[in-house]
C-alpha cells in the first residue's frame, strides 16, 4: 500500500525527554536508549547533558570499526574505540566458542553512556536501557528491581530480580531467539546479571546459544547471512522456528544452557542467570545467597 521513498536520510542522533519528563530518550539508527537518572533536578539534567553529549558520536565510532567488530573475537586485531574495547573485552572470555565482539554491542553502549552519565554527578540511581540490556548505577543503600521476561512473545513477566548496591552487579542483559539479533540456540529468553552490561550481554548471548537441541528436526534454521547479509554470524545456522517440544526436550535444552551458565559463573564472568524456554525456566542464583539476589518467580522453576 505505502510506497517507500527511494532514499531515507540519516536524521542523525536524536535526544528528547519522554512524556513523563523524567526519562531521556537517545536514538540513532539501531541504537535506542532509555535513560533515567535519580537525584536533584539540576544534577539529573546535567547528567542527561553529559550522556547526550557522549551519545553524539557513539554510532559513528562503532561504524568506523564495524567490519572488524564482526570478526571472531579470537582474531588478533585491537579495537581503538572505547566502546569497541568494551565489546572485545566482554566477548574474549568466551573465545573457546564462536563469538564476535558484536555479541556485547548493546551492553557496551549502555555501559559507555552510563559512565558518561554519572561521571562527576551526584545521583542516587541511574539506568541506561539499551533495548533491554541495562547498565545501572546504584548509590549506597539503593536497590534495583528488574523484571524478568519469561515469554517475550506475549510479554509475560516471569519474575523479578532485586539487586542491591552491595552486589557486584551493574549490568543486566537478555538474549534469545525473539530479539533483534539472531540466536544459534532456541531459548526464548536468557537474562544475565553481571558486573556490567557488556559482560551480561556477551554471556546472555552465549548461554542462549547453548540452550539448544542440536540434532532435533523440530528446530528450523537458516544461514544468518540469508536473513541479514551483514551478519557477524556468517553462514552459521540461526534459529528461525521451533515446533512444539516435549517436556524432556525442553529440559534437555535448558539443562545444556544451565551448565554453560554455571561454568560462566564459576569463572566469575556472571553473577546470576535466568533461562526460559517454552514457559519452563531455570534460575542460576547463588546457592549460598551471598549475592543476596532475590528471585521471585511466578512460574515453576528448578535448579
Amino acid at each position: 500500500m505505502r510506497a517507500g521513498a527511494t532514499t531515507f536520510q540519516d536524521d542523525g542522533p536524536i535526544a528528547a525527554l519522554i512524556s513523563d519528563g523524567r526519562r531521556l530518550h537517545l536514538q540513532h539508527g539501531p541504537i535506542d536508549l532509555i535513560i533515567e537518572a535519580e537525584g536533584a533536578r539540576d544534577e539529573v539534567l546535567a547528567a542527561y547533558r553529559q550522556a547526550r553529549k557522549r551519545f553524539r558520536t557513539v554510532l559513528v565510532e562503532l561504524v568506523d570499526e564495524l567490519a572488524m567488530l564482526r570478526l571472531g573475537v579470537d582474531r588478533d586485531v585491537a579495537p581503538t574505540g572505547d566502546i569497541a574495547k568494551r565489546m572485545k573485552a566482554a566477548a574474549l572470555p568466551f573465545a573457546d566458542d564462536f563469538i564476535t565482539p558484536m555479541a556485547a554491542v548493546a551492553g557496551a553502549v549502555a555501559d559507555e553512556v552510563l559512565a558518561s552519565l554519572i561521571v562527576g554527578r551526584r545521583l542516587s540511581r541511574a539506568f541506561v536501557n539499551n533495548g533491554g540490556d541495562i547498565a545501572f548505577h546504584l548509590g549506597a543503600g539503593e536497590r534495583y528491581v528488574a523484571a524478568l521476561v519469561g515469554d517475550p512473545v506475549v510479554g509475560r513477566v516471569a519474575g523479578r530480580a532485586t539487586v542491591s548496591a552491595e552486589n557486584a552487579i551493574r549490568g543486566i542483559a537478555t538474549s534469545g531467539r525473539h530479539g533483534r539479533s539472531h540466536s544459534l540456540g532456541i531459548a526464548d529468553a536468557v537474562t544475565v546479571l553481571a558486573g556490567n552490561a557488556a559482560d551480561a550481554d556477551a554471556a546472555a548471548t552465549m548461554i542462549a546459544n547453548a540452550v539448544d537441541l542440536p540434532t532435533s528436526p523440530k528446530i528450523e534454521r537458516a544461514p544468518a547471512r540469508a536473513l541479514y547479509p551483514d551478519s557477524d554470524l556468517g553462514d552459521r545456522l540461526v534459529t528461525t522456528g521451533v515446533r512444539d517440544l516435549e517436556k524432556n526436550e525442553i529440559d534437555a535444552a535448558l539443562d545444556a544452557g544451565y551448565r554453560y551458565a554455571m561454568k560462566a559463573r564459576d569463572r566469575g564472568l556472571i553473577e546470576a542467570a535466568f533461562l526460559s524456554l517454552a514457559t519452563s525456566t531455570r534460575v542460576l542464583g547463588d546457592a549460598m545467597d551471598q549475592t543476596r539476589i532475590e528471585f521471585e518467580t511466578e512460574l515453576e522453576t528448578t535448579g
Partner: protein
C-alpha cells in the same frame, strides 16, 4: 533524482535483490522481506520501506522547550534544557494508519479522548486521492517558462505553469487528467512526481520553452543548475525606491546593481522627489526611464545576478561638468550580498574605501529584507464519498459538519485550508507533516493521511460509527478496531511541530465560540 523516483513507481524490480539501506551510518544490506539491524527499515520487493507506519504526535508543554536540534546547546552558555513532551498530549495521525478502501468499512482508527473535559473523537484514515494535485510556489524572479506551458518529468506532462505571484513563480502539478486521463506512463510519472514532492524529496521538472528546475519542499530551487539563494527585496529600481530616504545625507550617489533593472538614486524618481542632487554619473546600459537601466551586464552569478565581479565596469567616466573630487558613491547588489564604497579622486576616478559605519545598516537592511528563496509544496485533494463513508454512514453530513466548524480536518496532523463550496477540498503544507507521510496505489492515485476531529456528540449527530470507537489509550497500546485488518509494523512518535495548532484545541471549533459567547 527524478529518474529514480519514477523508476520506483513504474517498474516492479525482480524481488531478489538485497538493498543497501542509507537511513543511518550502519548502512545495512537488507535481504528481500527482511529488516535492517534497527528493525525500522525493511526491504519489500527491492524497495526500502519504513516499518513504523503509524505516526503518533506528541505535544509539548507550552514553553517547555522548542524543538532543539541535537547539536545545539552543547556550550555552557546555552545548555540543553531537555525537550519535554507533555504528558498525555497525544494525537494519532493517519500516517501509516492504512485505509479500508474500497470496502466502505469504518476508518481504521476511530479514537476517543478527553480534552479539557470535552469528549473528542478523531477518525484516522489514509485517503486514496484520485482527485488531487500539488501546488508549487518557487521563490524566484527568474522566468521559468511561459504561463500555461507544460511542466514535464521524464518527458511526460505532469502539470503546467500557472499565474505567477509576487516574487514567485507558480506551478500546478498533478490532477486527475494527468493521473488517469492521459497515457499510462503519464499517470505513473505524475503519481511518482507528486509522491516525491509531497514526501519532500527533490524532483527535477522541465518547462516547455523554459527552464529546468529542481524543486524540493522547504529548499531553495535550483534553476538550470544554479541554486537560488535569496528572493530579491525588489529589482534595483524598487530597492532605490525603498531606501532612497534612508541614504539621503549619508552618501552622494547610490547604484543598486541588478540583472533586471539597475537603479541610480540621483536620477531616479525616488531621489528626485526628495531633492537628491545630480552627480554626473553615467551608466553603461540601456536606459528605461530616468535612473533605471536594463542590461548593464550579462546574467550570471556575480553582482545582483549579473556576471559582474567588479561593479565599476557598468560606469562610464563621470561627467566632469557636474562631478567633483571627494564625491562618495555606494554600489550595492539587490540582495545586499555585495557592496562597495568609493570616493572620486582628483581625476574623478572612483577609488574604493571602507564602507562607512553610517551605511552598514542600510546594506544590512537590504539583505535582511531578502528572504531565503524557497520552494513551497502544498498538497491539495478532495475527500471523496468512500473516504467520507469511512467516517460516517451519511457522507454529506460530514461535509456539513466541516463547514459548520464542528469537525476539524488535519493532514498528518498538519493544519489545512478547507475550500468553501461543495465537497471537502483541502490544501496543506507538506513541510508541516511528519516525514514520508504520503504513499500511492497503482491506480495511480496518491495516498494521503487525513484525520477528522470533533466532539463525541457531533460525531454521533453526523452518523458516526459509534460502535467502532476505542479509547486513545488502547490505540496507543497497539489496540486495533474490529474493522482494521491491516497488520501494522509498528509505530513511530513524531514531535508535534510547534507551528501547528493542536488538532483538538477547542479554539478551532464553532461550539467553543458559542460557549464563550454565551
Amino acid at each position: 533524482m527524478t529518474e529514480q523516483v519514477s523508476d520506483n513507481a513504474t517498474k516492479r524490480k525482480p524481488a531478489v535483490e538485497k538493498i543497501r539501506c542509507d537511513a543511518c551510518p550502519v548502512m545495512c544490506y537488507i535481504a528481500d522481506g527482511r529488516s535492517g539491524a534497527c528493525d525500522r527499515y525493511a526491504n519489500q520487493g527491492g524497495e526500502l520501506v519504513r516499518l513504523d507506519p503509524l505516526t503518533i504526535l506528541e505535544n509539548r508543554i507550552e514553553g517547555g522547550g522548542k524543538v532543539v536540534p541535537f547539536l545545539d546547546g552543547e556550550d555552557d552558555a546555552d545548555p540543553w534544557q531537555g525537550d519535554v513532551l507533555a504528558d498525555g498530549e497525544t494525537f494519532i495521525t493517519a500516517v501509516g494508519a492504512g485505509t479500508t478502501y474500497p470496502d466502505y468499512k469504518p476508518a481504521p482508527f476511530i479514537v476517543s479522548s478527553e480534552i479539557d473535559g470535552v469528549d473528542m473523537i478523531t477518525v484516522v484514515t489514509e485517503g486514496i486521492f484520485s482527485y488531487c494535485g500539488v501546488k508549487v510556489k518557487i521563490d524566484t524572479d527568474r522566468h521559468l517558462g511561459p504561463e500555461r506551458n507544460l511542466v514535464r518529468v521524464d518527458g511526460e506532462p505532469i502539470g503546467h505553469v500557472t499565474t505567477g505571484e509576487y516574487g514567485s513563480q507558480m506551478l500546478s502539478i498533478g490532477g486527475v487528467h494527468h493521473l488517469t486521463g492521459g497515457g499510462k506512463k503519464e499517470g505513473r510519472v505524475t503519481c511518482a512526481s507528486m509522491l516525491a514532492l509531497c514526501n519532500r524529496e527533490a524532483v527535477e521538472l522541465t518547462i516547455d520553452d523554459g527552464c529546468s528546475v529542481i524543486v524540493q519542499a522547504g529548499q531553495p530551487p535550483i534553476i538550470n543548475g544554479v541554486l537560488e539563494n535569496r528572493m530579491r527585496v525588489g529589482c534595483g529600481s524598487a530597492t532605490i525606491g525603498m531606501f532612497a530616504s534612508q541614504w539621503r545625507g549619508l552618501v552622494d550617489e547610490v547604484v543598486v546593481v541588478d540583472d533586471h533593472i539597475t537603479g541610480v538614486v540621483s536620477e531616479h524618481q525616488a531621489g528626485k522627489v526628495i531633492g537628491w542632487p545630480e552627480t554626473g554619473i553615467r551608466i553603461n546600459g540601456r536606459k528605461s526611464t530616468p535612473g533605471r537601466y536594463f542590461q548593464v551586464a550579462e546574467p550570471g552569478t556575480g553582482w545582483g545576478g549579473t556576471d559582474l565581479q567588479d561593479p565599476l565596469k557598468i560606469l562610464e567616466p563621470f561627467n566632469a561638468k557636474i562631478a567633483r573630487p571627494g564625491q562618495s558613491m555606494l554600489m550595492v547588489s539587490t540582495t545586499g550580498e555585495q557592496s562597495a564604497y568609493y570616493v572620486l579622486d582628483d581625476d574623478l576616478q572612483p577609488v574604493q574605501r571602507d564602507l562607512p559605519e553610517t551605511l552598514v545598516g542600510s546594506v544590512e537592511r537590504i539583505t535582511e529584507n531578502c528572504e531565503p528563496a524557497m520552494c513551497s509544496v502544498l498538497f491539495m485533494g478532495g475527500a471523496g464519498g468512500s473516504l467520507r463513508s469511512g467516517v460516517t454512514e451519511n457522507p454529506v453530513r460530514l461535509t456539513r459538519s466541516v463547514k459548520n466548524m464542528l469537525t476539524v480536518i488535519t493532514v498528518g496532523g498538519a493544519p489545512c485550508y478547507v475550500w468553501p463550496g461543495g465537497g471537502i477540498t483541502v490544501m496543506a503544507d507538506v513541510t508541516r507533516m511528519p516525514e514520508n507521510a504520503f504513499g500511492y496505489v497503482p491506480t495511480p492515485a496518491l495516498v494521503a493521511p487525513i484525520e477528522f476531529t470533533m466532539r463525541r456528540s457531533d460525531y454521533q449527530a453526523l452518523g458516526g460509527h459509534m460502535d467502532h470507537v476505542m479509547p486513545l489509550g488502547d490505540a496507543l497500546k497497539g489496540g486495533l478496531g474490529p474493522q482494521n485488518d491491516h497488520i501494522l509494523g509498528g509505530r513511530t512518535k513524531a514531535m508535534h511541530r510547534p507551528e501547528n495548532p493542536w488538532p483538538s484545541d477547542r479554539r478551532h471549533y464553532g461550539w467553543n465560540r458559542e460557549d464563550t459567547a454565551g
